[in-house]
Subunit: 385 residues, 2 copies
């Protein structure tokens, strides 16, 4: 979709691109100031290799900050700085999984999980969520087998925007604790959107609930730095094989070819995280998603209220007379019609959520305006048939 948008623009078309979670916001000024100050410093040796898990002072800082967020006694050694969340997930998967093992994740799900599981010759098992995309704990528990090594949770969720609430995580914890499995079962939380809660809270987590929890995150969204590839991998102190995991993460971070998270980016975090002005303003995304939600609601799309992030995952109205080709799906056809009107969105089927479309509202207001018009034109035409 990224290349499609480039090509459309190259042909002189105005594109209202809601297809990619590529933040339109700039990194905070505080972050820029931190990066400038580090580059201006006379301190030597700060662009060199460090321990493959990251600079000790950065790992310590992250551990202390996460400890205060979740009331869990992380140590610096529980933190592996990674090349974004994508790097962290691949390091975690390579470390934990043997070929043939299973990762269990709620669906709709981030499509790259399919690729990441294929990287490691493991199977992705999907558990449905409820109608509003909240967690269906029984659906997860009933799909756990002796081969399940990881339950992968992505909350706030891409593509649905759903946030898994404390009650459902408590219930999942209780269910997981009752299971006896031949090997440890880890919950891996992929949480790049956790700092974009509209009410300013931190998204509920399995950290502090279930001992075998790992968290992977990045600063692609809260610092608007997706191109700079900075994230980390966090091991809960209660994890089985905690120190072996941490040592293996150091090894695989190196051997898979990441080597280490970019040095300058690691160090900027010290001056930014948890500081006033040390994040993009989630209210900007709240306003954009709300505006789009209202417009979609008026057009008959079904969608739950969104509490975090910038994704919407509306359900196509049944009243629209969309006629996909033999074997096709309504959402693909709808997105093609939308693209013809200059608006790019991703068919839900790509995320295991047929009959939906995924919209990324990390865009300028004029793009929201243009996208709403495109939706109105497509829906108008489909109602006249």
């Amino acid at each position: 979709m990224f290349n499609a948008a480039l090509e459309m623009r190259a042909r002189g078309l105005t594109v209202y691109d809601l297809s990619l979670g590529n933040p339109d916001l700039e990194p905070p000024q505080l972050w820029k100031d931190a990066a400038l100050s580090l580059l201006n410093s006379d301190e030597r040796g700060r662009h060199r290799y460090m321990n493959n898990s990251g600079f000790p002072e950065v790992r310590k800082f992250v551990a202390e900050r996460e400890a205060s967020l979740y009331g869990v006694a992380f140590e610096a050694s529980d933190v592996t700085m990674t090349v974004g969340a994508a790097g962290g997930l691949n390091v975690a998967f390579r470390t934990i999984l043997d070929p043939g093992d299973e990762i269990l994740t709620p669906t709709p799900f981030f499509t790259e999980y399919r690729n990441y599981t294929e990287n490691h010759d493991v199977k992705l098992v999907l558990a449905p969520t409820r109608e509003d995309f909240t967690l269906d704990v029984d659906a997860i528990l009933s799909r756990i087998t002796d081969r399940t090594r990881i339950v992968l949770l992505n909350s706030p969720n891409n593509p649905t925007g759903a946030v898994y609430d404390a009650a459902s995580l408590d219930s999942l914890t209780a269910g997981l604790r009752q299971r006896t499995l031949p090997r440890p079962l880890y919950v891996v939380e992929d949480a790049p959107y956790r700092n974009l809660m509209f009410d300013g809270s931190t998204a509920p987590s399995m950290l502090g609930r279930y001992p075998n929890t790992l968290l992977v995150t990045s600063h692609s969204k809260d610092l608007a730095l997706p191109g700079e590839r900075i994230g980390y991998l966090l091991v809960a102190p209660g994890c089985e094989a905690r120190s072996e995991l941490n040592r293996a993460f150091e090894y695989w971070n190196r051997v898979l070819g990441f080597v280490n998270a970019p040095a300058l980016m690691q160090r900027t975090l010290l001056a930014v995280l948890g500081q006033p002005g040390g994040s993009v303003d989630p209210q900007i995304y709240a306003r954009k998603t709300q505006r789009m939600s209202q417009a979609l609601g008026a057009l008959g799309f079904g969608l739950p209220r969104i509490h975090a992030g910038f994704f919407l995952f509306p359900k196509l109205p049944e009243s629209l007379s969309i006629t996909p080709p033999e074997g096709g799906s309504r959402d693909v056809t709808f997105c093609q019609l939308l693209a013809a009107e200059g608006c790019l969105a991703v068919p839900g089927v790509a995320f295991g959520g047929e009959d939906h479309v995924r919209l990324a509202l990390c865009v300028g207001d004029e793009t929201v305006t243009g996208a709403i018009s495109a939706f109105e034109r497509v829906c108008g035409a489909l109602r006249q048939r």
Copy 2:
């Protein structure tokens, strides 16, 4: 070794660490200025995702520069910006190789090749070099089988410091052209040291000689930025399946979890590469390697003259009465004795070069001085036995 040095320092010991290719030099001031200028700019959207292969203007710049270096008509699409050379090698290997395929490389060899081949379930086949570590073309050609997909050349070489000369590359080209194989055979040049030739030349390359050549490099050494993870992968226009390779590199760069090379680092290259002051000064490494070479020669170590980079790979004098334990090797025992004197070096056996030690001279002059003293003490003790 990196962690061993940290622990020795933590215990208050003075460590003369020649174990790691982690440049002691700072990045050039021109690079710092470029990074500051980019961060200070009001231009929007420059820390976001871009095409997974990199910023178009950076790829174009690299293609034009490489074209002028090698007289080969690279296009922007032949360049994939990567997370260092390690990222580039893993992307290339994942793209080209099927499980069970073979990578053929001259030995001694960079130890990480062993790990990278294991990542992709392929076999690393070693071809000996000559006594002075120059290329033994017949040794390579005689080991090519129907399973060989990649001949991996690392010149200037880590660990030996050898530079493969034009005549040997001509000879390799002639030999490869004569072979008929069921699938294309690619030469992959891993060339992070190519800009550190002491005479200011560019190291000879298979680019412009053998059509199926890929080059992987990084700016870890010439810009002293190993921690920042910036490199690239270059496809020769004559490569079989050129456009398929370039598209596959974009895909695997994303899917393996790198996603893209760090954005800011990509952009700094535009202002630096090929400019006066746009590199560390290789003469600094020339002086350090020469000084260490002379001291080692006086102690009876055998080593060829070094023309690039900062590695030395001296052969232990036979006159030293080193008595390794049953099944051990002399170089491991020697390095243990050296470590007891505060000097860290890597046993040659780690690189497939038993009876040698690898020394990285990208260190301060006082470290060279301390290391020479440690060598003198260890050799003195081993001669008195």
